[in-house]
């Protein structure tokens, strides 16, 4: 059985606020992320985030998976943290992390993907999350 990769991204601009990731770059309305036919589980997520460094503080980042496509209910996974000492002169790039999972899913049902910045408002953060189905 081959694997299928589905991605959503979005901007999280408020602290401690569940923010749905519903776009895919140039696709501003890709529609619901449906569990593909022929798969039975979520074998991993690959996720990344970075922030615009417009406030001198620190934060942590997590993603939430919700919706009827998840047989056992919602999941939440921490994906990183960051901070900047001054709001004049931060710059950086970081790679996505792949997190192995084994979560049963229901084909043709939606999974909602959310990003959240936690702690202190650092400005805005850009999140991208890939769901890996098998």
């Amino acid at each position: 059985m081959s694997r299928l990769y589905r991605t959503r991204e979005g901007t999280v601009s408020a602290v401690d606020t569940r923010t749905q990731l519903a776009t895919l770059g140039s696709e501003t309305a890709p529609g619901p992320l449906l569990v593909p036919q022929g798969v039975s589980k979520l074998v991993g997520v690959r996720a990344v985030q970075n922030f615009d460094m417009s406030a001198a503080t620190s934060y942590s980042a997590l993603i939430r998976l919700e919706g009827p496509g998840l047989q056992e209910g919602p999941e939440c996974v921490g994906i990183g943290a960051g901070g900047v000492p001054v709001a004049t002169g931060g710059n950086g790039v970081n790679e996505a992390v792949t997190i192995p999972l084994d979560i049963p899913v229901i084909p043709a049902n939606e999974i909602l993907v959310f990003g959240e910045m936690c702690g202190t408002d650092v400005g805005s953060a850009e999140f991208a999350v890939t769901l890996i189905f098998e």
Binding site: S2, L4, T7, N91, A96, A128, T130
Partner: protein, 137 residues
Amino acid sequence: MSRTFTVEGDITAADTRTLLTTQGSVTAPSSVVPAGMSKIDKITVAAASEALANGAQSFFLRLGGNAVKGGEQTICISASGRIAPQAGSDSAPQIITSSVLTDLDIAVTPSDTLTVAVEGAGTDTGTARAVVTLIYA
């Protein structure tokens, strides 16, 4: 047995699907899946920005074309952020080593073509550069 296919290119605008079609000195490498190969087993990928503009953006990969079974596959790569330094200061560079994604198991059709695109989503942080290697098995 495995075979490799590498492409690279500039990502000059945010939220724009950008095809990677060159390979440095090779300006038009063949994107045909080699005969005898049935899947993309691994990918090495890196994307970073020159950071000439303030913002935050994420980069993701699009694998499409007739050769890719199950429709377009999208995989996130990296994310960059930047705020302007004080007057008279220089900004730090953005450097990232390629990520090696293993056990991908993306089904492909041999002797058919695929497309490799990278896109930066969010707020443009300046021209970015990406390089992608597909490792077939």
